[in-house]
Symmetry: C2
Amino acid sequence: MRKFLIASHGSFAGGLLSSLELIAGKIDNIFTIEAYSDGSKSIEEQIEKVLLQIDTADELIIFTDLMGGSVTNQILRSALRENVYIISGVNLPLLLEIVLADTDTPVAEVIETGITNSKNQIVFVNKLIPSND
Amino acid sequence: MRKFLIASHGSFAGGLLSSLELIAGKIDNIFTIEAYSDGSKSIEEQIEKVLLQIDTADELIIFTDLMGGSVTNQILRSALRENVYIISGVNLPLLLEIVLADTDTPVAEVIETGITNSKNQIVFVNKLIPSND
């Protein structure tokens, strides 16, 4: 089974999930980690709790907020193993495309296509609007 | 003055702001719109409330969640005017770079550079890790 984890500083992860579910409906098999939120457990403890719900046959795609950030770094230290795939710099188009992808498509292909398309969704919208000049 | 607005479906906008402020500290002049959240006002009303706090001499950079989504479309209809700049597909690297940019740098340059760099921050992290093969 393909499972998902969004991991971030603060409440970004849960916020992104709320946005995803408003657009796509309830998603199963998706977890969130919100580091440094008030009262939250350590990142390590939160990762461990998620990994307990992942079977060795599962694929786990992890979306993180920021390359080089402490959350991504801790994910790399604690969660990287076979069948775990980590993507940094998540935005909503990336999450939507990968979570909604056909699970028969190989995971690496889903990720590569999702990354390419999500980059193209970061758009300076003003430039698309015809000028009145 | 340069001001900022994050607009999203659900609580993504506030979550992203929490992440930004955990990393960069308290940010002034930044607003959020969370559409379709329980009990929230309409997107139009929320935009109007933000625009009341923007002077004509201010620059307003608006980050939205999704190109073609209803939030971005409503922002385009209600907020696009002189000195308003809209970027869709926001991720944390984009927000960090643009919000923290030197305000002496022209806004279009800040945005173009930020978009280029944020695309490069969407990374399939596994591919950066040396293989043991």
